[in-house]
Symmetry: C2
Subunit: 291 residues, 2 copies
């Protein structure tokens, strides 16, 4: 497909300060810029939340990656650490005329190498199809369209996140580090070829997982957790969950089954940072699409 | 063996606020005290650091489980959150005439169900032998003797920690939760039998891993990380590491091998909380002892 060339790319790590894979990859590239330099574009590396990185925490005051709704960026009353930081990052992205954002995340869920998209932009769908074709670990997750998403990557139309896991926060796991590194190089090589007008051979068939909702943990009236992900569901991201199959195990040993109407494909199962967001996992549906 | 009865036990969770297994087990037992009640002893449950639990962090100001050196507990100049809390906990343990402390921890290392001991007390060695005999997942780790240990469990002679993993911080993993629960019940049943003077049948043969040192990650002059645990070592806690075998993988792909003089048995490999303590893993030696 043809597309005007991508001139400026932002490669972002440390949007969450305890997701070390992206942080140390960005640091590596800042010290070895030849690894990510290509002829046809400029690439800006960014450690998004240095204070949270120094503290080894996801965030200082609030989740930075929920601070990028356009109306929030305009709201002068939002002045905590991450709200101010979001405005500064938005300014940097705009000033640098960034066409495409790659935001690096990691998760305690078994998400392999997930590309998260928010729109149907054919450029991103082609990229995703290419990546999932050359590497079976790559999965494509699509959030609902036509929403005001609060994510950093939404600062430009061609923005997406890479979620890698399972890996604990505050930990570097060498296999995941190397897989993510290879994925980034694949992305940059694709962008370079595409900029040159070379046709990158891609299946026009793409499997995507569309988020259709969330499920919270069992809780009591005061919101206290009453159970945990069932052992049969733990680490089973992207695997089918049929009605009647186990979903949670309560602390007193009762199994809670999934009672939806049809088979779904859970992702972000048991992501540590989502306990406070009241999300035990996302529900998705699996689609084959033709690009 | 004969021993004066254990009258008062403390079962502690949440010494680290992001180690959810122990926290939710203690909460479960607080709501279902019949599960841990036995005829021959009283049992006190304690969530050690409620503020850190609420914040979902290991600690607020400093690691609580390094605040219990006798001289620190006496030092009126130490007044941050955890230093004050340590004094309050020490007072509670003393007032409650606690004979035995079980302190519940979890780790991102693949430690299975580890019992950590600090002394050669025959009562604890017998308990450990019993537990490791009835459950092959149980390992016994011994820290150096005759030191002023800074740990909560050192508030009484019969104190020990349970370390379970691998599990990410801020996450409940059902299989590990249930294994830990079964281990606690095994411990309480043993203590009850022992208090009654019943002879609990135990092998007099016990395998223990004695800590002999630590290894830090490769770092540059400013202390910045230059590499990570080698994939061949990741999750290989309690497995032999021979001289010449891979230990780290640097960010530029170089393998760093172990160059000690003899085979060691690493534990706490890639524990998240130990990056800041400059510990990539502990070195241990494996012993068979006769109790």
């Amino acid at each position: 497909m043809s597309h005007s060339p991508i001139k400026n790319i932002a490669l972002v790590g440390g949007t969450h300060g305890n997701e070390l894979t992206g942080i140390f990859l960005v640091k590596k590239y800042e010290q070895n810029s030849h690894l990510i330099r290509r002829d046809s574009f400029e690439i800006l590396t960014l450690l998004a939340n240095p204070q949270a990185i120094a503290a080894g925490r996801r965030y200082i005051d609030t989740d930075l990656n929920r601070c990028f709704k356009p109306q929030d960026l305009q709201n002068p009353k939002l002045i905590n650490h991450e709200q101010l930081l979001a405005r500064q990052i938005a300014f940097t992205i705009e000033q640098s005329k960034i066409d495409l954002i790659i935001d690096l995340h990691s998760t305690t869920s078994n998400m392999g190498l997930t590309v998260i998209l928010h729109n149907h932009h054919p450029y991103l769908l082609n990229l995703a199809a290419y990546l999932s074709k050359i590497n079976p670990l790559v999965k494509v997750l699509q959030y609902p369209l036509n929403q005001d998403h609060p994510y950093l990557r939404n600062l430009c139309k061609l923005g997406f996140a890479i979620e890698v896991g399972a890996v604990a926060q505050g930990v570097l796991q060498a296999d995941i580090f190397e897989q993510t590194e290879a994925l980034i190089i694949n992305i940059l090589d694709y962008l370079e070829q595409s900029n040159r007008g070379e046709i990158v051979s891609v299946d026009n068939n793409l499997t995507i997982y569309r988020q259709i909702g969330n499920i919270d943990y069992p809780r009591n009236e005061s919101g206290e957790l009453q159970g945990m992900i069932h052992p049969q569901l733990q680490f089973q991201d992207y695997q089918p969950l049929a009605p009647g199959e186990p979903m949670f195990l309560t602390f007193d040993g009762q199994t809670i089954t999934y009672e939806g109407e049809s088979t779904v494909y859970p992702v972000f199962i048991n992501e540590s940072a989502y306990y406070e967001k009241k999300i035990a996992f996302y529900l998705t549906q699996k689609y084959q699409i033709i690009i």
